[in-house]
């Protein structure tokens, strides 16, 4: 039995299925009615199945169809609702448009403002549609502020004989009247052909009284020609005349408005009126009325709020915006537009008040804490700069700096040694000045006027500081070493400012020159005195250090100063130099150290003389002693000391001096010349000394 021939849905539904062939095949294969009947039953069952399926499908589809239909009716009703809403909106807008045309704005003003944009939008669309309909009117319609008012079909008549000439389609704009005629050679979108555009201001409209066959007509007097147009009905004509009249009146009222002062009105009211006028009304003058954007007209109020709430940045941004806007409009408008003038005046007032407030922010007030420091002033300074008041802000800023500096200085207590105090004070002063310079450069970049003001300020601050410094440091009880240290400290601090390009060191040097000179001469006197005192007490004996350690400590000390005293050592604890010599060496080297640290070009002369004179005083003592009658050994000893001073120490001093200045001290060199006799003795002694040493050994 061929299974493939069993009747199944797939078999019957297949495309190659041929009923006749199939039946033939069946009758060939199956013998006997019972088998055939069984087959038939099967086929019948199949057919019933299919029927059922079909019904089910139909039903299903039908259900879907009903759903769809419901959906569609739903959508339809929604569409109706939508169109209803739209028409409502439209009528609302129309009524708004007409109310605003009356120039009456009571409680409707808000809505009007809102609808203004929509009206503009409508105007745009209208213009677009005219552009599509009328050929060759692009240039005419491309004028900003021109708004469409009315259009219609008219019949032009001969002005003399009152005979019809041609039908025309005309458009009335707020500032002009456009005549177009039927476009014969193009059918389609461009129905009309642009003929002429008349300025509203140059034409006069005259109602033509109905006479004879001429009815519903009006005239346009456009010098020198006159054109007559016939309307379809009297009401149509009335419409046209009214529209013309309204356009003319609006234009007139605008002129009047422009002339009238509007000071008494509040700016916001002016806003609305001028806005509506310029969008809806008609101007035909050469001057196009400009609709000021709302934000611009609200500007003065906004600025007030900004200042009151201390939103200075916003206020300034607004101010700038307003100014930009005004400058964009240019001068010609600024003279004619009262709204503009009014707002400009108000803006100027606001600006000055804003400036005042900001200046107050920067002013120094005993009640106000300066805790915030300069950082707190940043904002006000920046804003003032934006307002173009950088000179004032710079002035205030520097005053603020001064007072802050003063306060900071007061906080530094005079405790401990002078040098500690000075170290602290100068660090405070110059650190602050550095900060201020930082802030200043941040606040007033690239402003030469301010920069020079800053230099003047810095210099005056430095003067007051140096005055204070001199008072504190240059008192009789302060040693030169302390002074030197203090001066050195201040100088280092002062150099910090050089990093900002402000070199005040020369000024500091200048301020310190006199007191330093005095300090040096004082020191000289003091030292010469002490030299004399020591000379009186000089016993001319080698120094006894009592212990080996004491000697080696002394040797080390001198080695550090650059002196090799080993050759002067005798025995374990003796040094072949007097106490006086050693003391003098120490003092003098300390003085030299100070002098070299202090030295400036201006001070050099004093330094040189001071060194020379003190040294001379000491040598004088040696010379005097040598002139006395002395034992040979004692003489040798003195000569040794003298030689130490004249040669060894001298060389060291010159070495140090040269190292610091780059040249030898000529004044000091005079020492050797002055005491040439001593030198000779010393040099003579050198030979003897060798002898003596060998003897000694």
């Amino acid at each position: 039995m061929d299974h493939s021939k069993e009747p199944t849905l797939t078999l019957l539904a297949s495309t190659e299925f041929q009923p006749e062939k199939y039946v033939k095949h069946l009758s060939q294969n199956y013998v006997g009615g019972s088998e055939l009947q069984a087959i038939r039953k099967k086929i019948q069952a199949l057919s019933e199945d299919t029927n059922n399926n079909l019904k089910k499908n139909v039903y299903q589809n039908y259900g879907q169809f009903i759903d769809t239909a419901k959906e569609i009716s739903h959508l339809e009703s929604e569409m109706y609702q939508l169109s209803h809403l739209l028409s409502e909106q439209k009528s609302l807008l129309n009524s708004l448009a007409s109310t605003s045309l009356m120039g009456d704005n009571s409680n409707l003003t808000r809505n009007k403002e809102r609808s203004e944009e929509k009206i503009i939008e409508e105007q745009k669309q209208k213009t677009q549609s005219i552009l599509e309909k009328v050929e060759g009117c692009k240039d005419v319609l491309d004028i900003p502020g021109r708004t469409f008012l009315h259009e219609g079909d008219l019949l032009e008549l001969d002005s003399l004989e009152n005979k019809p000439i041609k039908p025309v389609h005309v458009y009335l704009f707020n500032d002009g009247f456009m005549i177009t005629s039927r476009n014969s050679n193009s059918r389609g979108l461009m129905k009309y052909k642009f003929e002429v555009m008349y300025e509203l201001g140059s034409l006069a409209v005259v109602n033509v009284r109905d006479l004879g066959d001429v009815k519903h007509a009006f005239k346009l007097l456009i010098f020198p020609e006159t054109r007559i147009f016939q309307c379809s009905s009297n009401s149509n004509k009335k419409d046209w005349l009214d529209k013309f009249d309204q356009a003319k009146k609006n234009q007139l009222s605008q002129d009047v408005q422009r002339r009238e002062s509007i000071i008494e009105r509040s700016p916001s009211r002016t806003t609305i009126e001028s806005g509506i006028h310029s969008t809806l009304s008609e101007s035909e003058d050469d001057l196009v009325i400009i609709t000021h954007p709302e934000w611009f007209l609200d500007l003065p109020e906004e600025l007030d709020v900004g200042v009151a709430q201390r939103h200075f940045e916003e206020a300034i941004t607004l101010l700038q915006k307003g100014k930009d806007y005004m400058s964009q409009l240019g001068l010609p408008n600024a003279k004619t537009d009262h709204v503009l003038i009014d707002i400009q005046r108000k803006l100027d007032m606001r600006q000055s008040s804003l400036t005042e407030v900001l200046m107050k922010e920067l002013e120094i007030n005993p009640d106000k804490s300066l805790q915030g420091g300069l950082r707190a002033a940043r904002r006000a300074v920046r804003l003032l700069n934006q307002l173009g008041r950088s000179t004032q802000s710079c002035d205030l800023f520097l005053k603020l700096c001064s007072s802050m500096l003063k306060i900071q200085c007061k906080r530094v207590k005079r405790e401990g040694s002078t040098s500690t105090y000075i170290r602290h004070l100068s660090s405070v002063v110059f650190t602050n000045m550095c900060h201020m310079t930082d802030e200043f450069l941040r606040a007033f970049p690239e402003s030469s006027v301010c920069a020079s003001a800053y230099i003047v300020w810095a210099s005056s601050e430095l003067s007051s500081f140096s005055a204070h410094f001199i008072k504190q440091v240059f008192v009789p009880q302060t040693s030169l070493a302390t002074i030197t240290e203090c001066v050195f400290l201040v100088k280092t601090q002062c150099e910090r400012l050089c990093n900002y390009g402000i070199d005040l060191c020369y000024q500091l040097d200048g301020a310190l020159l006199t007191p330093l000179t005095k300090a040096l001469t004082d020191t000289r006197d003091k030292l010469i005195d002490s030299v004399k005192v020591r000379a009186l007490e000089d016993k001319w004996i080698p120094t006894n250090f009592h212990t080996k350690n004491g000697l080696s400590r002394c040797l080390n000390e001198h080695r550090e100063m650059g002196l090799q005293l080993d050759s002067y050592v005798t025995g374990d604890i003796w040094l072949q130099l007097t106490q006086n010599t050693i003391a003098f060496t120490k003092v003098f080297l300390a003085l030299l150290e100070c002098c070299l640290r202090l030295k400036t070009t201006e001070l050099l002369y004093t330094v040189d003389t001071v060194l020379y004179e003190i040294y001379g005083a000491q040598l004088k003592h040696y010379e005097l002693t040598l002139k006395k009658d002395l034992q040979k050994e004692e003489r040798q000893f003195i000569i040794k000391n003298t030689e130490f001073l004249l040669v060894t120490l001298y060389n060291l001093i010159q070495r140090k001096y040269t190292k610091s200045n780059g040249f030898e001290c000529k004044t000091f060199a005079k020492v050797q010349i002055d005491y040439a006799a001593l030198m000779k003795i010393c040099l003579g002694n050198r030979n003897i000394k060798t002898k003596y040493s060998s003897e000694f050994l």
């Binding site: 003399l160 006069a204 005259v206 001429v214 010098f223």
Partner: protein, 201 residues
């Protein structure tokens, strides 16, 4: 219109000027329709045309009745330009309207730029003698100064109504003929000799 210039009737354009309420429209309507309108309604700008017989000649008169109200003052220029002759009306019962004629005169001369434009000074409401504020002498003095005729009318009684229109039309016609002459002939005589008014009271 160039087709049959012979048949073409002459068109004289007359403009009524004057302050509001002096009776410009009343005069015009009386002239046009022989009726007096009592109720007053301010005019914006109305135009009338009528065929009349002027000294045996068919002519058309085009009357432009303008608005007297001040608020139209700024756009009067456009109307005045089209006029060939002017009837400057005032009310003899209102001095202000008489004073205003000075201004109208000046404006017309400025717009037309022509000292000799056909022009009539018209004192209306002559029927209201008891309310007269402007004396005849005053008005005619002013007219003399301008070199124009002065006529007193009454739109109500129709006194001198036709006269002012016809007189003005004659002046216009004379003026046109003179101009034609100078244009056709070699009359380069530009400053036309002052054509004396042809009508005297």
């Amino acid at each position: 219109m160039a087709k049959k210039p012979a048949v073409q009737t002459a068109l004289h354009k007359v403009i009524m000027v004057g302050s509001g309420g002096v009776g410009k429209s009343a005069l015009t309507l009386q002239f046009m329709y022989d009726e007096f309108v009592e109720n007053y309604e301010p005019t914006k700008a109305d135009s009338y045309r009528k065929k009349v017989l002027l000294d045996g000649e068919d002519v058309q008169i085009d009357i432009l009745d303008t608005a007297g109200q001040e608020d139209y003052a700024a756009i009067r220029d456009n109307y005045f330009r089209s006029g060939e002759g002017f009837l400057c009306i005032f009310s003899i019962t209102e001095d202000e309207s008489f004073q205003a004629t000075q201004e109208f005169r000046e404006q017309i001369l400025r717009v037309k730029n022509d000292e000799n434009i056909p022009f009539l000074l018209v004192g209306n409401k002559s029927d209201l003698q008891d309310k007269r504020k402007v004396t005849f002498q005053e008005a005619s003095d002013r007219a003399n100064k301008w070199g124009v005729p002065y006529v007193e009318t009454s739109a109500k009684t129709r006194e001198h109504v036709d006269k002012v229109f016809y007189d003005l039309m004659r002046e216009i016609r004379a003026r046109k003929m003179e101009e034609n002459k100078t244009n056709n002939g070699r009359g380069k005589d530009k400053n036309k000799k002052k054509k004396l008014k042809c009508v005297i009271l």
